[in-house]
């Protein structure tokens, strides 16, 4: 009796993953009840995130891996590849870039010129940087510094700025904030050549400035409100792992469903497994696109 019970239990467990031959139904983990459960799991995750944000501010939030040092290195790498001289990081241009990024969050716009007509040069001049040449590149929704520079390099106008011989100095700002109701990271890159060549910066000036700045992303408005400058757990990354794991697991179960049903000649009266595979695979592609949805301007 014990053996029979054990056998039944084992058989029952197996049907969480493979179709029921006798009942001619899908594996338990692929039934619609299971999908409602998965949906509930994600809703609970969202609820947990919202509660955590209030109860433990600074732990969960939006964060990216972009740093000023990496942006500078990547910019100079692409310039060196094209035989151009390296740009020197300027404190004034970086401050101008930071002011520009904060202004875009404040006025909730995403453009070189604000709706009120404020141009990028205003921020540069505000830092007492008298230039003979100046330029600006913008990026948002990227996670890594390399992706930002690669995206600029793919656009002819941004590439022109990156590789221009008219610039000697560059400034960066990486600012987190809320734009159009969503948390995002804005990257502002400002190029310049001072009118007075005697004011040209040296590598020593650059190193001095680099050592003085925090390599982490500049604190966002929201983070400041939360009383913390950095988040312990990056929410999009956490969600990305969770969603890809569950979708991958479901996709694998659907493939097992097809294989097992064919092997055992199970003719189920259900929806089309191939169609389900398509929608799950497309969802994974969509998630990939959402997480790679960086924009440049």
């Amino acid at each position: 009796m014990k053996d029979l019970a054990h056998f039944k239990e084992k058989k029952h467990f197996k049907h969480h993953f493979v179709p029921h031959k006798e009942r001619k139904t899908r594996a338990t983990l692929l039934k619609h009840g299971a999908f409602y459960f998965y949906s509930l799991l994600f809703l609970m995750f969202l609820g947990f995130v919202n509660v955590s944000k209030n109860l433990a501010p600074g732990v969960l939030g939006y964060a990216s891996e972009i740093t000023i040092r990496q942006l500078l290195d990547n910019t100079n790498q692409v310039r060196e590849k094209e035989g151009k001289k390296s740009l020197i990081l300027s404190e004034k241009l970086s401050k101008a870039a930071e002011q520009k990024a904060k202004y875009m969050f404040e006025k909730n716009y995403w453009a070189h010129t604000s709706p009120e007509g404020v141009e990028p040069w205003t921020f540069i001049l505000d830092q007492d940087y008298d230039y003979s040449y100046a330029g600006e590149n913008l990026a948002r929704n990227f996670y890594y510094s390399r992706e930002v520079v690669d995206a600029w390099m793919k656009s002819p106008t941004h590439k022109e700025n990156l590789l221009s011989n008219n610039y000697d100095e560059v400034g960066f700002a990486v600012v987190n904030g809320v734009l159009d109701g969503y948390e995002t990271t804005l990257v502002v890159q400002m190029f310049g050549r001072p009118k007075d060549v005697s004011k040209l910066l040296t590598v020593q000036d650059q190193e001095k400035y680099l050592s003085s700045i925090n390599e982490k992303i500049v604190a966002s408005e929201k983070q400041e409100l939360l009383g913390s400058s950095t988040y312990t757990i990056d929410l999009p990354t956490l969600f990305r792992y969770l969603s890809f794991s569950i979708l991958g697991f479901i996709l694998a179960l659907f493939f097992i469903d097809i294989y097992y049903s064919r092997k055992h000649g199970i003719d189920k009266f259900t929806g089309h497994t191939s169609a389900h595979i398509i929608i799950i695979a497309m969802s994974m592609i969509s998630l990939w696109v959402i997480y790679r949805n960086g924009h440049i301007l």
Binding site: F35, L46, Y182, S243, G271, A275, H276, M282, S283
Partner: protein, 84 residues
């Protein structure tokens, strides 16, 4: 329904989804576009499933619920991902 017809329908679904994803890349920063994108994929899938099974004369409640549950799940995942 023949295998060929099924394949044609699947290719149509894939093309439509690919178009949506491509479109999203350009309008993904707008909150409305994000919601429309998250909703349009599962909605289209559910409508396609209903039409397809009606045409095949095998639309039953449990088949509809199967598509509904998967569509709801996909919607929640996409909406959450585009809002984080």
């Amino acid at each position: 329904m023949s295998l060929k017809k099924h394949l044609v329908e699947y290719v149509f679904i894939i093309l439509y989804f690919s178009f949506l994803i491509y479109f999203f890349q350009y309008l993904g920063t707008s909150p409305n576009a994000r919601f429309i994108f998250a909703a349009s994929l599962p909605t289209f899938y559910l409508l396609w499933a209903v039409a397809h099974h009606l045409f095949e004369e095998r639309l039953k409640l449990h088949v509809f619920l199967e598509y509904l549950s998967i569509s709801l799940f996909v919607f929640i995942i996409l909406l959450t991902a585009s809002n984080l």
